[in-house]
Symmetry: C2
Subunit: 203 residues, 2 copies
DNA sequence: TGTTGATATGAACATTGTTCAGAAATATCT
DNA sequence: AGATATTTCTGAACAATGTTCATATCAACA
């Protein structure tokens, strides 16, 4: 059994990720502290920096897991949709619910910043692609007039529009929607956008 | 001259706001440091806390000024519009340009958070209303079928949708639009939404 | 079992926002 | 004008934070 060392190393990393996730759930991204995470994971402060590059990278690892959960949820939501409009409605609804049910984790997906000059690793950037990939095929059906390049841009725009509505509401900003209206307004937005898309595709 | 004291006090506060604004422009909201601000304003570190409640409140004051600039820009942009569609296009375009031209200040409007438990003062929350007020009358023309309550909700949703597109792009997230496509995609979004709104109003 | 290389420890450091006792400046009173 | 009181400014000290590093500990192997 020559891998006891690697096992412990992987175990510590997993415990740190779980602890960070729990801390974010309880206190939000801004409330994530190195000391609280290591205490929760049952290791010394310095161990964090041998298991992981630094606290920011730990957040990236938590966000990576959240993104995979979200991707699964969206893929599942759209599985049995009967047409492009129903599919986009199902996606938007599931996205909204995921955000509501996992608020601090979901917010950390979009509010985490790296210090000036640092970049997110490529593998993590790529993980975001699922958010667009689930939209593209259905948007394509609504807009057969668009080329594939324009379509990808439009998918980004479509995602960002729905995302913006959810984000402002969950931030609790003055301009955001009251929580009680969020689901209905997201549905109304998608309805408006699909109606508009069909109208424009018609010429 | 019994107001020399008040004058100096107001002057220090103004210098601090200007310094904070400049620091945010140069280094972003996350790069705003109490020591850098006070050095720039030409006062001691502690003076900040006699002129202003704390660093967060200083950000609120900067944001307040930015919000007024933005309000002026939007009001101006929509002044000579020939119809609701043109008005909404003009608003969205001006909003996008303002964000691009004042990126760090505009980002600080939406990324500044107060520590858990604290609330923004009411007067500052109210300042955000202009972002919705400029939309409502034109949206009302597109959707005469909606009551005034639904209309206000729809204005929040409409704003949030356009805002979301700009925000994700300016954050430089993977799912955000490339800068070069931002203006065109915002226009396309507004076109889609107005077309959809007219279609839905028609019954 | 002793040696070696990796890992964990937690005290120490640097950088923050914030406070506070004393100094300086300003207003008020006689 | 001079004395007193009040407000404001100063910057050293403090607390909270992320990160590092010399040292101790541990696991693999000869």
């Amino acid at each position: 059994m020559g891998n006891n060392r690697d096992e412990k190393k992987a175990d510590l990393k997993a415990r740190l990720i779980a602890a960070a996730r729990a801390e974010i759930l309880e206190h939000g991204l801004a409330g994530l502290k190195a000391r609280a995470v290591t205490a929760r994971a049952g290791c010394a402060l310095g161990a964090l920096y041998t298991a992981v590059e630094d606290l920011d990278m730990l957040v990236v690892l938590v966000n990576s897991a959240t993104l995979q959960d979200l991707g699964r949820a969206l893929t599942e939501a759209v599985a049995g949709a009967s047409g492009p409009q129903a599919a986009l409605q199902a996606l938007a609804a599931r996205y909204t619910d995921f955000a509501l049910e996992n608020r601090p984790l979901w917010l950390s997906l979009f509010e985490h910043r790296l210090p000036e000059g640092r970049e997110f690793p490529d593998w993590h950037k790529q993980e975001h692609a699922v958010l667009l990939e689930v939209i593209v095929p259905h948007l394509a059906q609504l807009r057969p007039d668009l080329g594939s390049e324009a379509l990808l841009l439009r998918a980004r725009t479509t995602f960002a529009a729905a995302h913006g509505v959810v984000h402002l509401a969950l931030q609790g900003r003055f301009v955001g929607l009251p929580m009680a209206s969020l689901r209905a307004e997201v549905a109304a937005l998608v309805e408006t956008m699909t109606a508009g898309a069909m109208q424009l595709a018609r010429g």
